[in-house]
Amino acid sequence: MALPQVKLDATEARLAPLTLPDGAVWATKAREEALARFRAMGVPTGRDEYWRFTKPDSLNAPEAPEAALFEGDENPAFCDIDRLSVVFRDGVFDAEASDDLTLEGVEIARLADVMVQDIHWAKDLYGVLEARGQDPVVRPFAALNTAFATDGVVVRVTGKPSKPLHFRYLHEKTDSDAILHFLVKVEEGADVTILEGGPAAARFNKCFEVDVADRAAFHHVRSQGRDHERRAVTHVFARLGEESTFKSFTLTANGRLTRNEAFIELTGDNAVAHIAGAAVGDGDFHHDDTVFITHDAVNCESRQVFKKVLKNGAVGTFQGKILVKAGAQKTDGYQISQSLLLDEDAQFLAKPELEIYADDVACSHGSTSGAIDEEALFYLRSRGVPEAEAQDLLVLAFLAEAIDEIEDEGIAEDMRTRLEGWLLRHRS
């Protein structure tokens, strides 16, 4: 179907400042195909079903809108965790600031180096999961990412590396427009933890393609940077093999616009996928979680746990879908999206969806929006806990179900500490 002229124009305007990077034959082919996908979809508009809650204008703009740098006094996320750090400054790999990329059980290479090699395993993954994730719902910014990303990292996990990999995104220029693309291939029986932290750029487009083979495990914890004016659109595309595990948690504090999309396919029996998020926003904050989980195998489990704490005009949105294909019997699907609105000006928009074609499944979903429980607040105060502290305690309690999805207690504690700090700074 031909796109409306206005969409065509906006799409070409978006592409105008960009040029396809040079690379090996396979890389160029993958990029050209992605560009064709992007052109066929066009940039999103508010009329598109999955963009009704989130204005795409600032993501559609040819140039990144400026974003002031944020002077935080906090230590960066995960700084107390033993890890291998890979550092990007405004979307460009910084070898000097990064750790040595050798670690037993994992091969790590820079995307820029990989995309010019004639033969590389990345050929079978780059843009492949992203392309699969374009149906039935299009994700134009992911296709744009595949077409134009020059930097990022490709990771092949063959064992159980002794420490997590940490992708650290520094934001140093007020007009930076960063695109990063990552491939993570977790081979059979392997197990890896990937951490992400930082604001990355004024505007950040990031794409993960994650292939989790049979009996492999992928753990992911991310802390999106605190720069108030930054914008980000991120995607994770994942395929899960038999008895594999995928667990992802995202903490978002601040940011003018964040759209985090996940497209997860359970393709092997007995696989488990958990995806969770805790977002806290005060003022000019729009946070969007858009999740699509497909059950295409027997006896798989999926959980979506998204919690948002909003005040002072902040907006949270959630679009979450569980698709159970015919034959995906014994599916156990769970989805919860909740917001805690700390005042009358905050807003939460949610659209839970279930689409089930198998007859022996258990799927539940819930979505709620509410204020602080006054009874609980009084109970705490009557025991001597000052009002502000009591409220923070209740907010953390509200977020607990999402944070509990992090398996590593040290990392969970790091996330909790960050949330406590944010709440303390944003007491009204």
Partner: protein, 251 residues
């Protein structure tokens, strides 16, 4: 310890007077009980004293050790030594019982200018006190009151009281929902806290709690006032004859 003087209270939302001139004085070391028919204002009195929203004091006052408490925030009243054992203890999912106890205890200590209790010291004290109330490690770890039985909730209230060591304890129908064994356990917990420097106000419908927690004075409350005060025998009179006799006597 606690002095209530001609206290008049109405609901904030509607024009309904609940307390119509309550006078009551509970000295340090004493246990007073308030009995009375449903709707007489007993629970309202406990809520107003602890600082719950929704009530308006139209006349009179209440003082703890000479200090007016009605102008204080609930947490200030707690730090000043007031404690209300709730009739319906609130469930707080996501907040661990231990975290709750420790936060409360240290908040009160900080408010009083005392040092916070270290994690190790706190643990030692809480384990000891929990043991005497038959509260196991699992109950301490679980979220506050979530999934607790009626009896467990009330024991948890008494544990909080034991940890916070308030000067003035108000027990609002602590016997409701308790079986005989649980009532004994709770009462023992309360009795263990009886002390020269501490006073209790026990609100109850039934005399049987007062078999376990022996009061020095029993007050009968009706229609927002204390209508009669006497010794423990007053509670027995209520148990045997109901409130009708007393109410007609004072009418």
């Amino acid at each position: 310890m606690l002095k209530i003087n001609n206290l008049h209270v109405k609901l904030e939302e509607e024009d309904k007077q609940i307390l119509k001139g309550v006078d009551l004085e509970v000295p340090a070391g004493a246990v007073h009980a308030i009995m009375g028919p449903n709707g007489s204002g007993k629970s309202t009195l406990s809520y107003v004293l602890s600082g719950r929203d929704g009530y308006e004091v139209t006349e009179g006052g209440a003082a703890l050790e000479g200090e007016d408490i009605l102008e204080m925030e609930p947490e200030e009243r707690a730090a000043a030594g007031l404690f209300l054992a709730f009739q319906y203890p609130v469930e707080i999912p996501g907040v661990g019982n231990m975290t709750f106890l420790r936060t409360a205890l240290n908040a009160q200590r900080t408010a009083r200018g005392e040092e916070e209790l270290s994690a190790a010291d706190f643990l030692k004290v809480v384990r000891e006190k929990a043991k005497s109330l038959k509260i196991d490690a699992d109950m301490l770890k679980r979220p506050v009151n979530v999934g607790f039985s009626g009896g467990e909730k009330k024991r948890n209230e008494i544990l909080q009281m034991a940890m916070l060591e308030p000067k003035m304890c108000i027990l609002d129908e602590t016997d409701s929902g308790l079986d005989v064994d649980a009532m004994r356990l709770v009462s023992e917990g309360v009795n263990a806290l009886r002390d020269e420097g501490r006073a209790f106000l026990v609100i109850t419908h039934y005399q049987r709690l007062l078999d376990h927690i022996k009061p020095d004075v029993v007050h009968i409350m009706a229609d927002g006032r204390i209508v009669k005060s006497g010794g423990p025998e007053l509670a027995l009179e209520v148990e045997n004859n109901g409130y009708a006799d007393i109410l007609s006597e004072v009418a």
